[in-house]
């Protein structure tokens, strides 16, 4: 791997692949590229991809097509996907990162299968118990990061602490903020609130000497209010919180559309403050927060929503490029090593 950054793409993953993937790459190169001129490996059905590239000149000029005959079905069980996964577009997309042919892999395919393959091919970083999936969450001033949003349905206190470390490094890499604040999601902010797991994680994060900017417990409403940068929770709660907020946002958009009797944006923008409304629209557009990152592996893998469109896929590519262009993997290595030193010294001091 030499020269610029290389993004390895599962061109066949997602409900509307390969169309949204190729169009997503084209949209990204046209609108979001930021002059870093990455190149792309497109894994999938050569004939379908090349046909689409005919109408996507920027993508065509910056892509290499890597043919595969088989794909992972969107509803495949992870175990089944693993047994039959080798040589699929998803497998090859991740394998390119393992082999050093690409800096990052992106897929809109089956989440469980992608996680299973990523763990098998890239392996977890030393000492990480299980990888987490981190999602970006829009708020008034920018974005927060919530993890885990679905990889680990049951977590112990050590895992939650590890998520804090992973999420903090991810936030720094993506948003270049030196000391992002970290909160632990709970049913109240008082120290005595919550179940045994969050209590133990809270104690351990409060006493940690890792230098994390841990602010304590936060509540559900703090996420959208932007009161904290990194929100740590188990995958069951995080997944439900994320989808619940998406549902609430969609409901309000539906109400607005009904109330205004047609295309809300066209009517409102014609009469009122155009740029502020555009900003608002971009904030609550779920496509623009697309791109969950698998954290804790020896390599970077980005999961796009399966049902997204080309603009959503381009957002996932944006996250991929930002991560590939950061020192995330080196930094996380250092912090995890400090975390384990802390664990070791705590063990020594235990009675």
């Amino acid at each position: 791997m030499s020269g610029g950054l290389i993004l390895s793409i599962d061109a066949m993953g997602g409900d509307y692949a390969p169309d949204i993937v190729i169009n997503g790459v084209e949209y990204f190169l046209k609108h979001t590229n930021k002059n870093r001129n990455p190149r792309f490996l497109l894994h999938g059905d050569k004939h379908k991809i090349e046909k689409l590239l005919e109408k996507a000149p920027l993508a065509k000029a910056n892509c290499e097509v890597c043919h595969t005959d088989s794909v992972i079905a969107m509803d495949a069980k992870p175990a089944m996907a693993m047994r039959r996964g080798k040589g699929t577009s998803m497998w090859n997309a991740v394998e390119s990162v393992k082999l050093g042919k690409a800096n990052v892999a992106v897929s809109a395919g089956n989440t469980g299968a992608l996680m299973a393959m990523s763990k098998l091919l890239l392996r977890m970083k030393t000492g990480v118990q299980r990888p987490a999936i981190a999602a970006r969450w829009p708020h008034q001033e920018g974005y927060g990061v919530v993890l885990d949003v679905g990889a680990n349905l049951e977590c112990d206190a050590n895992q939650l602490r590890e998520f804090a470390v992973l999420g903090e490094a991810y936030y720094r890499a993506l948003y270049k903020k030196d000391k992002p604040s970290i909160g632990l999601l709970n049913v109240g902010t008082e120290d005595q609130k919550g179940n045994a797991t969050v209590q133990a994680a809270h104690d351990s994060l409060s006493c940690s000497s890792l230098g994390l900017n841990y602010v304590g417990f936060v509540e559900g409403n703090d996420i959208s209010m932007g009161n904290v940068d990194v929100i740590v929770t188990d995958g069951f709660t995080g997944n439900i919180a994320l989808k619940t907020a998406e549902g609430a946002a969609r409901l309000i958009e539906t109400f607005l559309k009904t109330a205004l009797g047609g295309n809300i944006w066209s009517k409102m923008t014609s009469a009122l403050n155009l740029s502020a409304l555009k900003k608002m629209r971009s904030k609550i557009d779920p496509r623009l927060s697309n791109g969950g990152v698998f954290l804790g592996l020896n390599g970077i893998v980005i999961k796009s929503h399966g049902g997204t469109d080309a603009i959503g896929f381009a957002s996932a590519l944006s996250v991929a490029l930002e991560m590939a262009d950061s020192h995330f993997l080196d930094e996380i290595e250092r912090t995890l090593s400090a975390l384990h030193d802390e664990d070791d010294s705590m063990e020594i001091h235990l009675p």
Copy 2:
């Protein structure tokens, strides 16, 4: 207790009590009463209450003031509140229901203290493991009901099944729908998704012969979409989902206000479709969904948000009146009895 319905009110509970309580009763009698003309017992500081009643003629004509010297602090620990609770406005409000002097109790005070007192004074219905708190959740066509939203941070499968029974009876009582649909909140809708607890609850609800309209797993976005009437979850997840959605709704409202450069409603309603916007506003106004109900006790207790205003408190009174005027307690008795018969017969058939 004879004649009309009687609502027993903790006049001192809430961040802005007793003002919002008295003004809430006045607002309720003026706007939401529906000709059922209930009467009110107002427990609290006689001098403060009577002064406020001077400016609230409808409330004054329909209230009896029951003086108490002491109140439960909003930040009191439940155990402390129990030790010093007797004779407080909250205690006496609940005790009036126990003594048959009122049909329902309402408080905007400390949730933990109110739950502890309610359990002590009213006791749980036979066979109920722990009471749950049910919240109304607005969607496009009406309201859903979510439980538990905070009373039980860890739940087993039997509790979740009990919540399904309690929530179904509550929904029928409040919205007069014969067979409300029930969903179990999970990270996906496929049968194999989720942790061991929701899996076991799903199996047990799927096989139940109670005649519940159980539709299976639902996801976070299904709540606001109104795809199901009763959403069952543990108190940790439910509390976080509820506050997360409130945060997302508040964020969008803030964006709209900023985008429209001032009072959004006045600007929009002046130019556009007034009635549809009013409807939308009422839908996403959290005050109008106020009033969580404690389910599983021998009596009805309604918890209002501590920080609500008079309009929000009036919404809680609305729920209280609807519940008091329903056959909820009798019905739930019958369904719980059927649930336990089913448990007994399952035990007999186990190997």
